[in-house]
């Protein structure tokens, strides 16, 4: 005979003010299987937990129902509590009478009646609860960081410093990411390269870090502690061992193409390193731009190379490496402002993006740091900045705020005023958002010390008139239309997810939101974890972020990785799917629906009875059945609802348990 104890929590007045807890505890006594029932002001407190433990011992309880807050909040607490009294933690059941009852209702009688139903269901389920025990999986002590921007570099350094091996995969020829393109960083105006390149060098020289540049993650198999990752090393056509990085090949290369690093404002050769401080500092051949690959003739770089490092026969190479943990730091891309018709669909050369501006003010950029407008190379005197281009604009861009634009626009406007004599900087804004340490002061300095003009309002149109850009907008504070004759316009374009973010997320088995940013497991309490155990997030791939936030998140992700790798093995959550092979017909429909690739088919051999002479009666047959990898399974239950014969069941939430709950209603 199973004996259930019911413990009703008041949660101070959170529950008690809309639900009659004493009445609940009384009513619970009459439920089948309930041997003991009581209520208390704070069940999660020390006296509350002691009360539960004492009751288990005194009344020989073998099932416990706690009617309190959401299981997300305190299920772990109470599992630990009943375990302390010698019960298997999975014999505990939570009835959520706070979030799902007292907080959302006001009528005390009705709320109490509903809470009684919730408890009745929990008791019915608890009676069907079985003991569950975690299994143990080994941890492979090597980490993978995907993406070599500032977040990836920081995460790799932090993990490597604790003594674990880290591979840093970057798809471009050099690590550094967007930060390498930026000129100065707010709010301190440090030179971006000056603070980034030492970190890049640290990563390159760190004995525990292997940089795998010009490579992409092709496939991720396995599970926490044991990911088997296939990485495609793209053909560089340059032997990294022989190459000395002298750069002669790049100087002599006759094929030129737009430089991505310089935002297409200057040209680069086909055999190239993206920028002077690139790491690894070995060039690669861009096969699409290379004259030899296009025409079959040239090979100048090969002839000129003193160390014979150029190899046109180089092929992509696939390598598979096992990792215990993965940090995803794949960064962001920028909104394409050509979709804004009123800003000229990108046809005015002097309407540029913020990142273009970074290259224009950078000493190693296409204009050697002198601000010259792209159309005629003249120094612009009046520069207009427009914020929220693609951000906070549900119609053409994204609903969200890109977070960094207010600050970098203030930075850009300051730089215009600082670098160009007699210049004017006009910023059109919707709001000023400066929620960071010293951010507001930085913005005020732009206005007060540098005399940047801030106009609150949207720009409705940019057009050309007698060779000048006319910016037409509204000043919503004065309530008037204004026209600004501008020499150059800089658009603060939105940060958005990488164009291939969704495809990448599916490849490695993590989830993403409506904007294709990767989902954290909990927005507040698990901000760097994903729903896939062992995969963590750092930087703007999770949502728009500035450099300080990216670095902080990278450190947090590294701490999680290190905590995982520091163990030799880990216990797995026992709430996983289980196959009843007697019922499984091997149709395999569960295999593609599993988001964690945890299900595969295996072959069984068995002796069968049969009713027909021409069947295999009395003989052995082989048949396929589903098999769940308990390390990979996250207990989502997608397979169980897809299984027609109910051969798959989620332990802790079995079909029988759910039906018992429904039937008790």
């Amino acid at each position: 005979m199973k004996k259930v104890g019911v413990f009703v929590c008041h949660c101070g007045t959170n529950i008690a003010q809309t639900v009659n807890c004493e009445q609940l505890a009384e009513a619970a006594k009459t439920l089948p299987g309930v041997a003991y029932s009581t209520e208390y002001k704070y069940m999660c407190s020390d006296p509350g937990q002691t009360m539960i433990k004492k009751a288990i011992e005194e009344h020989n309880l073998d099932r416990v129902v706690v009617a309190a807050c959401s299981p997300r909040m305190h299920e772990a607490t109470f599992r630990k509590c009943v375990n302390g009294a010698g019960l298997n933690p999975y014999l505990l059941e939570i009835a959520n009478i706070r979030e799902q009852c007292s907080w959302v209702h006001s009528d005390k009688t009705k709320a109490t009646a509903k809470a009684e139903d919730l408890i009745r269901m929990a008791v019915a389920k608890a009676l069907k609860n079985e003991k569950l025990t975690p299994s143990v999986i080994p941890i492979h002590k090597r980490a993978l960081v995907i993406g070599g921007g500032i977040a990836g570099i920081q995460a790799a350094l932090d993990i490597a410093d604790t003594g674990y091996q880290v591979d840093l995969v970057e798809r471009e020829p050099s690590i550094g990411g967007k930060m390498a393109q930026i000129d100065k960083t707010f709010p301190t105006m440090d030179c971006s390269a000056c603070i980034l390149t030492p970190k890049m060098v640290d990563a390159a020289q760190h004995p525990n870090i292997t940089i795998i540049a010009y490579s992409e993650v092709e496939k991720v198999e396995g599970y926490v502690g044991n990911f088997d990752v296939t990485i495609r090393r793209k053909a560089t056509c340059v032997d990294p061992v022989k190459c000395t990085g002298c750069g002669l090949c790049s100087q002599k290369c006759p094929s030129k193409t737009d430089s991505e690093f310089e935002c297409n404002m200057s040209q680069r050769p086909a055999i190239y390193s993206p920028f002077p401080q690139a790491i690894p500092n070995k060039p690669v051949i861009d096969q699409e731009a290379c004259r030899y690959f296009k025409t079959g003739k040239c090979k100048i770089c090969q002839k000129i190379c003193a160390s014979d490092a150029v190899n046109f026969e180089d092929q992509d190479e696939l390598v598979t490496i096992r990792y215990g943990a993965i940090v995803v730091a794949t960064g962001y891309s920028l909104y394409d402002y050509n979709q804004y018709g009123e800003y000229g669909y990108g046809q005015y050369p002097d309407v540029i993006s913020g990142l273009d501006f970074e290259r224009l003010v950078n000493a190693s950029g296409p204009t050697m740091g002198k601000i010259k407008r792209p159309s005629d190379g003249q120094e612009p005197k009046t520069v207009v900045f427009i914020k929220c281009v693609g951000s906070r604009d549900a119609n053409r861009g994204h609903d969200y705020c890109s977070r960094a634009c207010c600050m970098y626009t203030a930075k850009h406007a300051t730089m215009v005023r600082d670098k160009i004599k007699d210049s004017q900087a006009v910023v059109f804004y919707m709001d000023i958002r400066t929620p960071g340490k010293n951010y507001e002061e930085f913005y005020l300095r732009a206005v007060e010390e540098y005399g940047v003009t801030y106009v609150r309002g949207r720009v409705s149109r940019i057009y050309m008139e007698s060779g000048n850009l006319i910016v037409q907008g509204e000043d919503t504070i004065l309530g008037t239309q204004i026209l600004v004759v501008a020499d150059m316009v800089v658009l603060a374009t939105a940060m958005e997810a990488q164009p291939d973010a969704a495809e990448f997320a599916r490849k490695i088995g993590i989830t993403f939101d409506q904007n294709n940013f990767f989902n954290e497991a909990h927005p507040k309490l698990r901000p760097v974890e994903t729903f896939s155990a062992g995969i963590y997030l750092a930087g703007a791939c999770q949502g728009p972020k500035d450099i300080p936030d990216s670095v902080a998140q990278a450190g947090a992700a590294a701490a999680k990785v290190v905590a995982l790798l520091s163990k030799d093995e880990m216990a797995t959550e026992p709430i996983v799917a289980e196959v009843n092979t007697n019922h499984c017909s091997g149709c395999g429909f569960c295999v593609p629906v599993c988001p964690y690739k945890a299900i595969s088919l295996k072959t069984l051999t068995e002796r069968v009875h049969g009713s027909v002479a021409w069947g295999p009666a009395g003989k052995e047959i082989t048949r396929q059945v589903a098999e769940v990898n308990k390390g990979l399974c996250q207990g989502c239950g997608a397979c169980t609802v897809n299984c027609r014969s109910g051969a798959l069941d989620l332990l802790g939430f079995t079909n029988e348990q759910i039906l018992a709950e429904v039937d008790s209603l």
């Binding site: 969704a502 495809e503 599916r506 007697n582 019922h583 499984c584 017909s585 091997g586 149709c587 395999g588 429909f589 593609p592 629906v593 088919l601 069968v608 049969g610 009713s611 027909v612 002479a613 021409w614 069947g615 295999p616 003989k619 047959i621 082989t622 048949r623 396929q624 027609r644 014969s645 109910g646 051969a647 079995t654 079909n655 029988e656 039906l659």
Partner: protein, 301 residues
């Protein structure tokens, strides 16, 4: 010209070719069993035939009374590795493709002998053409190793609204909510839960059917309107996206209930919603509801 396609001049020649192919396969021990049709005990009925000896092959016939979709018999040899030859009409071939797609029958174990189908007669009224032939998508089998190609083939009326299923569906769809409720209640009330529709269905290939399980007890085992409705609705959902409209469920129903109607509705809805061809028309396809495509519509999310 494929040597495995045997041209016949009319449907009367089909049976003779069937016997020859079956005899060769059994004599050469390519297969150990041929599943086909033989003359039944009643004049207007043909019955399934299971032939293991080459001298028995003369029993085989093909006529307009070969209603039976034989493919489900293959499940009785599942996992044995035994080679089987099976005769299929166009509609049957789709359910065989479905069984291969559902991982129930290895394609390499089956020798498929297709018959391009001249059309069947109604089983209970043997002078009118079978209702199900009106919804026929393909009279020529979609998958075969041998094909007995008969010029008299007849494919269904592909004009929307032309076929029996379309007509019957639009009749139900045009009813008021109350009328429709009465229509279904009457149907489910009439059901005797003999499970013949499930047992004959080539798509119902589960090792253990959820309606037979006692733990958990998904559906009450009693015969009442509520549990009967639940049975039919669950079965419709379980075959959705895989039903090939072979019509066997409706043929075997002892009460003559329009069992196929729910399935037809779901098939048409799936074709419309996902813009996918009908189920199991091609061995390389995956059943619509058993696959995931990033570009799938997500209006409900």
């Amino acid at each position: 010209m494929n040597e495995n396609v045997i041209q016949v001049s009319g449907k009367s020649e089909i049976s003779q070719i069937m016997r020859e192919i079956a005899r060769d396969l059994l004599q050469q021990k390519t297969v150990s069993l041929v599943i086909g049709w033989e003359k039944g005990i009643l004049p207007n009925k043909s019955a399934p035939a299971f032939i293991t000896q080459s001298h028995d092959t003369d029993k085989l016939v093909f006529d307009e009374y070969c209603y039976h979709n034989l493919t489900k018999y293959l499940l009785q040899r599942k996992g044995s590795g035994l080679k089987t030859a099976i005769f299929v009409k166009g509609c049957d071939s789709r359910s065989l493709v479905g069984l291969v797609q559902d991982n129930q029958v290895p394609r390499e174990d089956i020798c498929i002998i297709g018959i391009s189908c001249p059309g069947l007669m109604e089983e209970r009224n043997t002078v009118i053409p079978a209702k199900k032939c009106e919804t026929c998508y393909t009279s020529i089998p979609v998958e075969y190793d041998f094909l007995i190609d008969c010029p008299d083939t007849k494919t269904g009326d592909d004009e929307p609204g032309g076929s029996f299923a379309h007509r019957e569906l639009s009749k139900v769809e045009n009813m008021t909510l109350d009328q429709r409720d009465t229509y279904w209640q009457t149907m489910f009330q009439g059901c005797i839960r003999c499970y013949a529709c499930r047992n004959v269905c080539p798509v119902c290939s589960c090792k253990e059917c959820c309606f037979d399980l006692t733990s958990p007890d998904w559906v009450g085992k009693g015969n009442n309107t509520s549990d009967n409705s639940f049975y039919h609705l669950v079965r419709a959902m379980h075959v959705a996206g895989r039903c090939v409209s072979c019509g066997e469920c409706e043929r075997v129903c002892p009460i003559n209930l329009p069992v196929m109607l729910l399935n037809s509705k779901l098939s048409l809805s799936i074709e419309e919603l996902f813009d996918e061809p009908p189920a199991s028309m091609n061995l390389d396809d995956t059943a619509t509801l058993s696959q995931f495509k990033p570009e799938d519509p997500e209006e409900f999310m």
